[in-house]
């Protein structure tokens, strides 16, 4: 640490930066139009210093962690010497402008004190629609980025306080939902104004020179925190792979490969050996892959690790060009913040788990939900996400996996709907949302079960399938635990015909019953060391069958079904 920095002021500056990024988030939630922000929190607010280094991202969706600096550095590169007070920048392109994928637009507002650039207040948010081949930004048929929506290089959206109306009209012309885009962009711009005002106050109080020193102090502290994390890992080289078995069109045999080198105070995360980029829209960008690695590291260690780029200063991420983790244009990539981000997190977790087994996290299963769109009885169109049939979390030391939880890349930050609400909103009737039996990955701490979800859809509808978790198990076991069961999606039509849905694709069907068996999460630790009373509880709860209790856990349940047969259990576990 810079010896001249007062430790109390440093702590105050750290808290204040985090508070400012939170404030931007609260303003965003309160003023944005699309429910995607208030409901799914699919945005992040962050602050960068004058060099474009991310110094705070206290709020936001985990898969945005640590990616914001690429956007700000692209601004500094493209507008060197031409950044002025009251400018506001906009960008989204993952290939040229530090974007992660096209739907996430970044608004960045430079902060000046006495004519000197001191910081940027920024907001990255998923737009409701940006043109492209499918409404709602996800075009699973895309084979080029040009099919996915409008590409924006670094643009000055507001120049010295004057909005470029021609540009604004261009943006609204390239969306199916101009009102939502207009409102959400204004909310983003408004939130960065609040952030910039608060940042300016902070820098004025400290003076620009001292502020820069304290910002650097905040980064250095995070670096020291993370070096403490690295010190817990066993030194050496750890390798892992995570399969990628679909290119969104057909089965493929591909993988994310990670070689983790743990040094004294340094980590190298090398993706050499990762498969080439694929035809469908799962390819990742540098910003997104870096974010996924940061998210994997931060979630592996400590939840309160500062989410700034200082925390990862001692981490060297190598992303080979032309692969799934760093595609060349014009590969499509809209899906990447979910898949392959999920696979990247899994691969990094697997490597870390070898270097520090007691901290290992078993894999979370992948979503299978389809999106159903059709007409309500009043003739109005509806779009329904079948995400109440959510996937499961994996086990870690001390806790079983969550039975149903939002995507891994949100760390479960997505709130699942009440079925009563959906029955009220859509022409459907639910039959079931129940935990599955024998689907949870066995372990000392077992995975989550996933669910058996069934709903009647009364009217003809388009089904957009995004069932990455359909088929073979999509979680993994850690430290001796096992993977959970795979997922399955079926549609039963009026005539009794049963359709087995593929992972990706769009199809139209008449009235049908949609059923999803969401996949189970992975288990942590040897299942034969699970506390027999926990196994008994799972059997009583109907999550684990009597047979699986004996087979997977070595626990014999007495004939009354209400107690453990201690003698037989001891015998089973002795073998």
């Amino acid at each position: 640490m810079n010896a001249a920095l007062d430790p109390v002021t440093l702590a105050l500056v750290q808290n204040r930066l985090d508070h400012i990024s939170h404030q931007m988030g609260w303003v965003m939630t309160r003023t944005a139009r699309s429910p995607i922000f208030s409901q799914s929190h699919d945005f992040s607010c962050f602050i960068a210093d004058a060099r474009g280094v991310l110094i705070s991202q206290a709020d936001g969706i985990p898969i945005h962690t640590g990616g914001g600096g690429f956007a700000v550095r692209a601004i500094l590169r493209d507008f060197a010497g031409a950044i002025a007070p009251e400018d506001v920048f906009l960008l989204n392109d993952p290939y040229t402008a530090g974007g992660n994928h096209l739907p996430d637009w970044v608004i960045a507002r430079p902060v000046f004190i006495a004519g000197r650039l001191v910081a940027f207040a920024c907001n990255r948010a998923h737009q409701a629609d940006i043109g492209g081949g499918a409404a709602g930004t996800y075009n699973s048929a895309a084979t080029e980025i040009f099919h996915e929506g409008i590409r924006l290089p670094v643009l000055k959206l507001i120049e010295a306080g004057r909005t470029r109306e021609d540009l604004w009209r261009l943006l609204l012309l390239n969306t199916r939902l101009p009102e939502a885009l207009d409102g959400d962009l204004r909310a983003m711009i408004g939130s960065t104004r609040i952030g910039a005002e608060r940042l300016a106050l902070l820098v004025e109080e400290l003076g620009p020179e001292r502020a820069a020193e304290f910002f650097e102090g905040v980064l250095a502290h995070a670096d020291r925190r993370f070096q403490g994390c690295i010190a817990r890992l066993a030194k050496g080289v750890w390798r892992s792979e995570e399969p990628v078995d679909s290119d969104c069109f057909e089965p493929i045999d591909a993988r994310i490969a990670v070689t983790l080198t743990v040094g004294e105070a340094h980590l190298i995360v090398d993706f050499a050996g990762t498969s080439d980029q694929v035809r469908g829209f799962k390819n990742s960008s540098i910003a997104n892959s870096t974010s996924a690695v940061f998210m994997a590291l931060a979630s592996f260690f400590e939840p309160d690790l500062p989410k700034n780029e200082g925390a990862f200063r001692s981490v060297d991420i190598r992303l080979p060009e032309g692969t799934l983790v760093n595609a060349r244009p014009p590969a499509p990539m809209t899906m990447n913040t979910v898949f392959v981000a999920h696979e990247i997190v899994h691969a990094v977790w697997k490597a870390l788990g070898q270097a520090l087994p007691e901290r290992a996290s078993a894999g979370w299963s992948k979503a299978v939900h389809a999106v159903t769109a059709g007409l309500r009885s009043d003739g109005n169109r509806y779009v329904m996400y079948q995400w109440a049939g959510a996937p499961a979390g994996g086990g870690v030391e001390g806790r079983d996996g969550f039975h149903l939880i939002g995507h891994l890349i949100t760390l479960g930050g997505l709130t699942l709907p009440n079925l009563e609400t959906y029955e009220h909103l859509y022409p459907v009737r639910f039959r079931r949302q129940e935990l599955r039996c024998d689907s949870a990955g066995p372990g000392r701490y077992r995975g989550g079960s996933g669910c058996d979800y069934e709903v009647e859809v009364f009217t003809p509808a388009d089904y957009a399938f995004r069932g990455e978790g359909v088929g073979s198990p999509s979680s993994f076991g850690a430290a001796g635990g096992k993977a959970g069961a795979g997922g399955e999606v079926t549609l039963t039509l009026d005539d009794g015909k049963i359709i087995h849905a593929s992972k990706y694709g769009v199809a139209r069907y008449g009235p049908a019953t949609y059923r999803a068996l969401s996949p189970g999460g992975g288990g942590y630790g040897d299942p034969r060391t699970r506390d027999p009373s926990s196994v008994l509880r799972d059997v009583r709860d109907g999550i684990v069958s009597v047979e699986a209790a004996a087979r997977d856990y070595g626990v014999a349940i007495a004939v009354d079904g209400r107690s453990v047969d201690e003698a037989r259990t001891a015998a089973l576990r002795a073998t």
């Binding site: 502290h221 959510a390 709130t415 009563e420 029955e423 079931r432």
Partner: protein, 693 residues
């Protein structure tokens, strides 16, 4: 308060608030004289703390306990027994009946976790295990019609299992029961054939909201706490009645209103926020009139700070409450709580950064200065080192503050690792705590769309008056109110709370095309319930009924609540009120956008008129300070020799210039340089903030 004890004028009113450390009692007599008493809480049996503080009061007032109670026209009680039953996981064995196919929503919890990043933290234990959540056939459709009748054989079968398993309390939450509770009522009846327990909690009866998770979770928590809480309250009431209390005690609910023991017996889940919700009544008492009641309050206790915004006398009541990770849809005043209080621990992380909170030292061992074995430095220790608190007995001698122990903890745990002097480290702790408080207030203000400059900050709780001026200054407020009874703020609020019960019914219709007959019938049903409850509580003629609507633009996820002016249905006026609220909260409106009603609400209110505090004789001239001592002011002013006043010496009209300290019975107030202290007409400390320089 150390004047000649005023002769009390019967009858009087008593508020008793059970806190983690102390049980507070406030008595106000018919002439408006106020007396405050504090006794240690008895966590194992809170009623003991209640009786202890009553006995203490009787002793100090030189009255027999029976006379104290006999002359008590009203006893309002804030009980932590509901909350503690949840905290300590000491509730009943609960079974649950659900519609077939939907028995797991309680355990799925909509996937909501408190801290997204902390994925290693498990969910709190599910209060009704899956093997006791039993499915029954029968289905209500989304339009409220019956798709399939309830299969009572399924209920009987479940009841037999409950009986065999020793289930003590049953929650019933059937799919779509918010539209029609008949299946739940039938199930409750059928259950009696095979299960002999007496406690059933029907979700459609407790909170008929749309959303099976929150409605079911509320019913389950109610079932979990009902046997213990209801028995406890009935026993306490019975005991007080036998000791002379002329009418049943009232309890403070999460909605900020009081209710009789009988009314709440079947729904004790309404009591979860019992203590802090009394802040509503306390704030009302701070205002000359409701229109002037624009307050942001920070109630700072030992471990946490509760922030509340009151605009024009109104604190928003929502359907969302989370307690220990359990979701409740009970009507609850909106309170934002942060881990910042006197007992909050300061610590240095592995990479050398100073933090304050969120962990606290609790009542035991408490701050290092208590000498009860606590080694971690807390905010209280820092105050002691900085001369703001006086060493020696605190809160009437219940604890003693040891200056050496406070210094030692700050020295070893903070000053040495940070390379600072003990005083600078202590000052850092205070600055970080006050930053936390500021951020908490800013958060609630931003989220509710209020500018704090237009509000008076009220800094209450035992530790509040120490931090009020610093936080108010940082917020840009012009003045801050430090209640004289800050350390018994909630007990004071209980004296000033009205009886209130909230009723709601899901009702979905377009505002401009609503079926008036159905609309009126819905309201009439709710009003009948509200009126009957008011009559039972003695408000046959004096109760008021307020109609409210939940409204949203078509397609929105959340509704806003709008009161009907004079209970009249005037769509134009309703739209105008909605738009004003929407503009304030969200920064925009949709002119002419379709408005949908989502619920009808009725608030039944019985006013418990309270006499304002007696005016004390004005101060002829400023009193002399009792002492001067060196006190650390702030980073700019450093240490100064500061006058210390005894609160009892300061009377209405008295004006003093800061810096100064005022020591009161339940708190110590700090007033900064350039600030001016005025004792207002209500005998509280009003501080006019000066410029920073």
């Amino acid at each position: 308060m150390n004047d000649v004890p005023p002769q009390l004028v019967a009858p009087w009113r008593v508020g008793i608030d059970v806190g983690g450390t102390f049980t507070d009692m406030v008595l106000r007599d018919s002439a408006g004289a106020v007396r405050i008493f504090k006794a240690p809480s008895v966590p194992a049996d809170p009623s003991q703390g209640v009786l202890d503080v009553l006995r203490l009061a009787a002793r100090e007032l030189d009255l027999p306990l029976s006379a104290l109670l006999r002359n008590c026209a009203l006893l309002v009680h804030g009980s932590t027994v509901a909350t503690n039953t949840i905290l300590e996981k000491k509730g009943a064995k609960v079974g649950m009946l659900t519609t077939e196919g939907f028995r797991d929503s309680l355990e799925i919890r909509r996937g909501i976790r408190e801290n997204q990043w902390d994925h290693r933290a498990p969910f709190p234990p599910v209060l009704a295990p899956r093997y006791l959540r039993l499915p029954v056939r029968g289905r209500i459709a989304a339009d409220g019609s019956e798709l399939a009748p309830l299969v009572s054989e399924d209920v009987a079968k479940a009841g037999a299992i409950f009986a065999a398993e020793g289930v003590e309390s049953v929650a019933i939450c059937l799919f779509n029961s918010f539209l029609d509770g008949k299946h739940e009522r039938q199930a409750s009846e059928a259950l009696g054939k095979t299960w002999a327990g007496r406690w059933t909690s029907l979700s459609s009866d407790i909170v008929p909201i749309m959303g099976e998770y929150e409605r079911g979770s509320t019913a389950v928590v109610n079932a979990y706490i009902a046997p213990k809480v209801t028995s406890y309250l009935a026993a306490l009431d019975e005991q007080l009645r036998q000791l002379g209390l002329p009418r049943s005690l009232l309890l403070l609910q999460s909605n900020g209103g009081a209710v009789s023991v009988d009314e709440v017996a079947n729904r004790p889940v309404m009591l979860v926020l019992s203590g802090p919700a009394a802040g509503v009544g306390a704030l009302k008492g701070c205002a000359a009139s409701p229109d002037d009641a624009n307050f942001i309050s920070m109630e700072i206790g030992g471990t946490s700070c509760d922030v509340m915004v009151m605009a024009k006398g109104d604190v928003p009541v929502t359907d969302q409450l989370v307690i220990e990770g359990y979701h409740l849809a009970t009507p609850s005043v909106e309170i934002h709580t942060v881990g910042a209080g006197g007992g909050t621990i300061a610590w240095v992380d592995s990479a050398g950064l100073l933090h304050v909170g969120p962990q606290g030292a609790g009542a035991w061992p408490g701050p290092a200065a208590y000498g009860l074995g606590g080694e971690n430095p807390t905010v209280t220790d820092a105050q002691l080192v900085l001369g703001r608190l006086r060493p020696g007995p605190l809160a009437g001698g219940a604890v003693t503050l040891d200056h050496g122990l406070a210094r030692g903890a700050i020295e070893t745990k903070l000053a040495q690792p940070l390379g600072l002097s003990v005083e600078d480290a202590a000052a850092g702790v205070i600055r970080l705590l006050e930053q936390n408080l500021l951020h908490a207030v800013e958060r609630l203000s931003i989220e509710r769309g209020h500018n704090p400059i237009h509000f008076t900050l009220v800094a209450a709780g035992g530790a509040g008056p120490m931090h009020g001026t610093a936080v108010a200054r940082a917020l840009g407020c012009k003045r801050v109110l430090l209640p004289r009874a800050a350390g018994a703020f909630c007990a004071m609020g209980m004296l000033q709370s009205d009886v209130r019960q909230d009723y709601m019914q899901v009702f979905i219709a377009e505002l401009d095309k609503v079926d008036r007959a159905a609309f009126e019938a819905g309201f009439a049903e709710l009003e009948t319930k509200a009126h009957a409850a008011l009559v039972r509580q003695g408000f046959a003629d004096s109760g008021t009924i307020q109609r409210e609507l939940d409204l949203r633009y078509e397609g929105q996820q959340w509704s806003l609540r709008v009161a009907l002016h004079a209970n009249l249905f005037d769509p134009v006026a309703i739209r105008r009120s909605f738009e004003a609220e929407h503009q304030r909260l969200f920064g925009h409106i949709q002119p002419g956008g379709r408005l949908d009603i989502t619920a009808l609400r009725v608030v039944g209110c019985g006013r418990l008129d309270w006499s304002p505090a007696a005016s004390r004789p004005p101060q002829p001239k400023p009193p002399a300070p009792r002492q001067r001592r060196p006190v650390w002011i702030d980073p700019r002013h450093g240490w100064q020799n500061v006058p210390v006043y005894d609160g009892g010496d300061l009377r209405p009209g008295c004006k003093l210039a800061g810096p100064l300290l005022v020591e009161e019975r339940t708190t110590t107030a700090f007033v900064g340089p350039n600030d001016h202290l005025e004792i207002d007409a209500a005998d509280d400390f009003l501080v006019h903030l000066g410029a920073v320089a």
